[in-house]
Symmetry: C2
């Protein structure tokens, strides 16, 4: 099985050399997060990921979860690994110190999340979902609910879920039917069926805290009649411990393409006791406040799997000898050359590498803004950061998961036939990566969110926080000779993005189907342009170090990867531009009956 | 589970309206294959595929193959289905009538292969491999070997395999070690280990005929010292029946990402009796004669799975209601609109459709040439057809399997979360499709075959048989107004392909790594251009029927799909062109140690 080592060198580059991570301490609440604190945290997380979580990744996939008499068992080793994870304080990392958390910045949390996803995505789902429930309760729960549930979610003795989907509704939550009946004591009784509930039932924690969307009896129809409730598996007793079993049962678990060690449950709520979180009928608003964070987190899943696949592919390309270099033997002492000599193998590896490092920078950029949105003392800066995060969230989610899937597939291809065999682990990355393009809003929904909601929001104000800095950067660097191989293609892609934006705005105003038809290609064009900007900035940071201050060749590789991205990946922006500009008539005019 | 219906209407369009299938009868040996004979064969094949093979596809995937004490059991229902398939004469379809075959044209065989791959790729592997063994023996075996083995392979009572790969060698067969020791009676004793042997052991037939690459004691090193042998599981007795058990054992079967009902075996040969096929040390040449056919067949696997996924996705998009059309409710009487109304869903479906129909035409075009190569009375025509087939084979293999994988992924995405659940069958198409990009020469190897072997072959002569007709066609149709939306983009892509060809030829001559670095993008550019040519021709055939002679809208849909292809898929050719023209330095100059 391919091994995994946390890419600490590149993470530090992104954090400190690209994104001014040293200045995180300027933000109130992050004063302690100096490099001296962060670096050991990253190292320790890398160890847990590599030594505890990654060794359970293959076995977890083969064994999967099992359901017997309503009890779900996670694969061998998962409960013990979770206990270690919990005891190490990792569930508390980015949580509020008021409830026992460590209050780490999002930038740090994002890097550590990447490690967990690289090592064992299925495992990461359990604390990941808990964090979603934690965030919902922290933002919208009463003091009493917070005091009851948050310390347990933070210290990981209880876990959480998000119960949204029902058989008849996924994307369209307006169709949901689960009912909540008010009781005299202020609680509610919930009845209904929820599907696709990740971590809905398992054996890792003593209690499971479900955050459930349901309708009150007087609820308006559709999306405006949905409320949010907290429904624990065991009702907390008066001492905050585990009390009576509540009316929620796991009816079945799904048999999936991947993330097999993550339990995906059908949950039946039958007069289950719950409490309202937030205002009546305002459940969707409560959901939306968490959605950005959850979508960024899913993007990071794609990134994490891409990194893991890249590492496996590089290792194999060095070891596997097969054929000779086209220009003559490179390892004449061996029976054949390592396949790393072949241009097409290098193309795949560099595509993986440019994707991973570019996407890591993009995730960090948005996480940086999330830190400012949360912590900046200036409300104007907070608002600007929030606008930027809102704009970039669908891009990060869709781009990183699409590219994550593509990257894991390159990893399989480098392995040849061996990549198709489960024991090597490369095909599992593909299967695990596939879900990230779907859940937390399919990537088509992300694209629609971008063109239909984020672009027109506040008369296009959000867009400025991407377009202005990129435009200013291009102008400032246009004359720098050393940067020309990067700035020139960036400028070209950026011009295309500007024109496409104008087209989507104009035609979409007249006919929303035009925006919808452009959405996916437009999002990808936007994402590639963002990567081009970041690759240019990374090249700018790295260039002065090349040769003189680069003992391990890190900076030279950074510049070389930037060049590869510009020459061999960014040209896609031209095709996407043409596709956007072609308009949507070819798909909208097609006769429904003819499909 | 998604259902499957053979796309007979489109197959007849390709066969008769696009590719002059009525004129197959002009070729000696095909006189009987009139439309009156072919149509019922296609219909009957469609029934077997839909009613016998497809119902075993999901269960076969879940159950997989099992190995116990050297015996491999295929999933429940497979032996019975195979018996029906065999009794129906399907194993004999395209085989030589001298050995009991029906001598069907490759064009017909290709369409039927597509149906089998759509319905149940794992099942199709068993007769598919038999056909490979049949072809090797028929072309290179002695009369005695042919008389012994061919009738059994043709009637399907025995099956076959191709034993090439060993643990240390896949792509690079020069490294293979299996030994063949000559015996006094003219036979050989083979010893060695072969891996990844599809259909290497199973319970469908009374005997299994292995075609094995091995080295004679006096063999030169490397690729020029490899000979081909036939090694049956049971040595035939004097009456042509099954005699003594031979020294070949299945040591294990692989656990794979997909095609789980196809057994993939490690075979140990231990003093196994075999006979030489073809000349000593000329095994690779024997292999190469079959390779074109096998690679085309693998391309058709990608096509078949893409068709199946498209059918499933369309069905779901009609049935699943979720959300409202962006331009207002289309089904106000329902709780929501069918997702078919959404532009992004239509984009995915049309991408699938344009891929499937275009690739079907491409496969038929090359199959047509294969029929001419085999049957044309004029040796010049035969040679030209052979050159064309040789040129197009790597393109068909790589393009159809890459696009097959992409298309099956679109199918999953249309299903949303339900696409990730195994019972719906959509994710299985993805897992099954993934291997086709790898086996029978990875797609990177196909690309290298195209730029390194097919392009320069005979001073570029092969290229003419694609470039000349396309060039002449563009010139002839350039002024036809109704065709402008198709001919114009075709001409643009064709110009790019011509320039890229010149670049690859020129730079590759000076430095083979340049050709290698361009290969995959160049192949895709070539393939897209071929599809653009065929889509233009299909539009040309369909246009006169639209409106006047089109009760079911078939021709209108054909023209609309052609338009979608030109506007929303062909622009990729621009990006590929830029990537090819950028050259290979960015990947070749990258420091090996820095990966």
């Amino acid at each position: 099985m391919a091994s995994y080592t946390a890419p600490l060198r590149d993470m530090r580059f992104v954090l400190y050399e690209l994104m001014e991570g040293d200045r995180l301490t300027d933000l109130p609440g992050y004063e302690e997060f100096t490099r001296d604190l962060i670096d050991p945290i990253l190292e320790e997380a890398g160890k847990i990921a590599a030594e505890v979580l990654h060794p359970l990744n293959r076995s977890g996939d083969e064994e999967g979860c099992t359901l017997e008499n309503g009890v779900v068992r996670t694969p061998t080793g998962f409960p013990e690994a979770y206990a270690l994870f919990r005891e190490g304080g990792w569930t508390a990392l980015s949580c509020d110190p008021d409830y026992g958390g460590q209050g780490a910045p999002h930038m740090v949390d994002t890097l550590i999340s990447e490690m967990i996803c690289s090592a064992n995505l299925s495992f990461g789902m359990y604390p990941g979902l808990s964090h979603g429930a934690y965030a919902a309760l922290r933002h919208h729960g009463t003091h009493e609910l917070k005091d009851t549930f948050l310390p347990k979610l933070v210290d990981g003795t209880w876990s959480g879920t998000m119960c949204l989907t029902e058989p008849q509704c996924g994307t369209d939550l307006g169709l949901l039917r689960t009912k909540a009946d008010p009781q005299d004591d202020g609680s509610y009784r919930l009845t209904g069926t929820k599907i696709f509930i990740s971590a809905g039932e398992h054996d890792l924690t003593e209690n499971i805290v479900h955050l459930v969307l349901a309708r009150l009896p007087d609820a308006p129809k559709g999306i405006k009649g949905i409320s949010l409730f907290v429904v624990p598996k065991y009702v907390p007793d008066d001492n905050g411990g585990v009390g009576a079993r509540n009316g929620v049962q796991c009816a079945s678990i799904e048999h999936k393409m991947g993330i097999k060690a993550s339990s995906t449950c059908v949950l039946n709520f039958d007069d289950a006791t719950g409490w309202l979180v937030g205002a009546p009928h305002k459940g969707m608003r409560a959901m939306f406040t968490m959605m950005n964070a959850a979508r960024l987190a899913v993007g990071v899943q794609g990134l994490g799997l891409a990194e893991a696949s890249y590492q496996g592919a590089v290792e194999y390309a060095r070891e596997r000898v097969q054929g000779r270099a086209l220009t003559g033997a490179k390892a004449p002492d061996k029976a054949a050359d390592p396949i790393l000599v072949h241009p097409d193998v290098r193309r795949m590896l560099l595509t993986q590498r440019a994707t991973v490092e570019g996407c890591r920078a993009l995730a960090a950029w948005v996480a940086r803004a999330l830190d400012e949105q949360t912590r900046h003392p200036d409300p104007v800066q907070r608002q600007e950061a929030e606008d930027f995060v809102a704009l970039m969230t669908p891009i990060v989610k869709a781009l990183l998961t699409d590219m994550g899937f593509e990257t894991t597939n390159h990893g399989v291809q480098v392995f040849g036939g061996h990549g198709y065999i489960r024991e090597h682990g490369m095909e599992q990355y593909v299967r695990d990566a596939r879900i990230a393009q779907i859940y937390e809003g399919t990537n088509g929904i992300q694209a629609l969110d971008l063109v239909g909601r984020k672009l027109p929001a506040n008369a296009g104000r959000s867009l400025r926080f991407f377009f202005h800095p990129v435009s200013a950067y291009i102008e400032a660097k246009m004359e720098v000779d050393a940067l020309a191989p990067f700035v020139m293609p960036l400028a070209k892609a950026f011009t295309r993005l500007q024109q496409a934006t104008a087209q989507v705005a104009r035609t979409g105003m007249a006919n929303p189907d035009e925006a919808g038809a452009a959405a996916s290609d437009y999002l990808r064009l936007f994402g590639l342009t963002a990567l081009a900007y970041l690759w240019t900035r990374m090249a700018e940071v790295a260039l002065p170090h090349v040769g003189t201050d680069d003992p391990d060749g890190f900076y030279a590789a950074k510049v070389a990867t930037a060049r590869f991205f510009m020459e061999r990946m960014l040209p896609q922006s031209g095709a996407l531009f043409s596709q956007v500009m072609a308009g949507g008539e070819s798909m909208m005019a097609f006769d429904d009956a003819a499909f």
